[in-house]
């Protein structure tokens, strides 16, 4: 029996001035997955990263499938302090970045994070690992964000 609507908007923020990061703190543990949907204009050509639970240690890794300048590639980054989920050298257009924190509240498995980054000059699909079994309670998105960038957080609750 369906459990009813379970895709909920939790919070959104629009930058009134340039910022180096946006943090969603006290993320409730009542959902199954968390999805961050971001429309980002960069103030300088740069990457878009994420961190969780204020962990800036080298406890992340990622595997990416990328397209840039007509070339497809795959990349792997081990023992990094923040996995990449977007990039652009363009400071004019807005980039789409959707990051999914899968089964984020469980306390038995390391956390898998999926994402896609779409820019006028770069596209990527990524999977990242946070080597920690703790529930994710804080989500941080980092980059050189310009005024008008929008960040929305959604919760998806399984029956």
């Amino acid at each position: 029996m369906p459990a009813g609507n379970t895709y909920e908007a939790i919070a959104t923020t629009t930058l009134g001035s340039n910022a180096g990061s946006v943090t969603f703190s006290s993320v409730p543990g009542t959902y199954t997955d968390i999805v961050a949907i971001c429309s980002i204009k960069l103030s300088s050509g740069s990457t878009i990263y994420t961190q969780v639970n204020a962990d800036n240690g080298n406890n992340y890794s990622s595997t990416g499938l990328n397209g840039e300048a007509g070339v497809a590639s795959s990349s792997s980054n081990s023992n990094i302090n923040s996995p990449l989920f977007g990039y652009s050298g363009n400071t004019t257009d807005f980039n789409n970045c959707i990051i999914q924190y899968m089964n984020y509240a469980n306390t038995t498995t390391n956390k898998t994070i999926l994402g896609r980054g779409n820019a006028s000059d770069y596209v990527t699909a990524r999977v990242a690992l946070w080597r920690n079994t703790a529930a994710i309670t804080e989500i941080k998105i980092l980059g050189s964000f310009a005024t008008g960038s929008t960040f929305s957080l959604y919760g998806i609750k399984a029956a």
């Binding site: 369906p2 459990a3 959104t12 943090t23 409730p28 990328n66 795959s74 089964n103 999977v127 399984a158």
Partner: protein, 186 residues
């Protein structure tokens, strides 16, 4: 009611939402200590427009994971995958017909925690072959795989009323959680 949530950044304007939308949780399976060879969602209601499956999975051994519809184990599935393994990007038709199902993703070891999202569009149509899209993969801090997959089920067009997701040879291990959602149209 929106939960308590803090947001902070330098200079933001924000607000909290009340829940609304057209996305329902239909069913969820969490695998226990013994593991299972497959997860089946049966008697799927036809009241939605699209389906979405979201999961994390652990396997008893490195393996490919496939999807089937309505108990069809014949070679009625087609597949294209664009994937990256950290060193090269590859497009392939690796499993066409071989598994009698749509190949979704590969998981490297028992330690891997894969994640994925499967979209099944217009699943109740009786005039269209069904098309599936998938984003998912795993990363093991030194090895990994990210997959963008498309699949189709080309049996006589029928509404999908059951979905099976299974490793080809291995089992889903404890802590695997697979959830089915329905997305309503107007």
């Amino acid at each position: 009611m929106a939960p308590i949530l803090g947001i902070y950044a330098s200079q933001i304007s924000g607000h909290l939402f009340a829940p609304s939308g057209a996305y329902d949780s239909i069913a969820t399976t969490t695998v226990g200590a013994g593991g299972v060879s497959s997860v089946t969602f049966s008697s799927i209601p036809s009241t939605y427009t699209h389906l979405q499956v979201r999961f994390i999975s652990k396997l008893s051994a490195g393996d490919d994971v496939i999807m089937r519809f309505n108990g069809d184990t014949a070679n009625n599935y087609w597949n294209h995958i664009l994937y990256g393994n950290g060193s090269s990007a590859t497009a392939s038709v690796p499993f066409s017909g071989a598994y009698s199902g749509i190949a979704l993703y590969y998981t490297g070891s028992t330690a891997s925690v894969a994640g994925g999202v499967i979209d099944v569009l217009d699943y109740t149509s009786t005039s269209k072959n069904k098309t599936v899209r998938f984003l998912g993969g795993y990363d093991d801090n030194g090895s990994g795989n990210i997959d963008l997959a498309s699949g189709s089920w080309s049996a006589t067009p029928a509404a999908i009323n059951s979905i099976v997701i299974k490793p080809v040879s291995a089992n889903f291990a404890q802590y695997t959680q697979i959830a089915l959602y329905g997305i309503r149209g107007n």
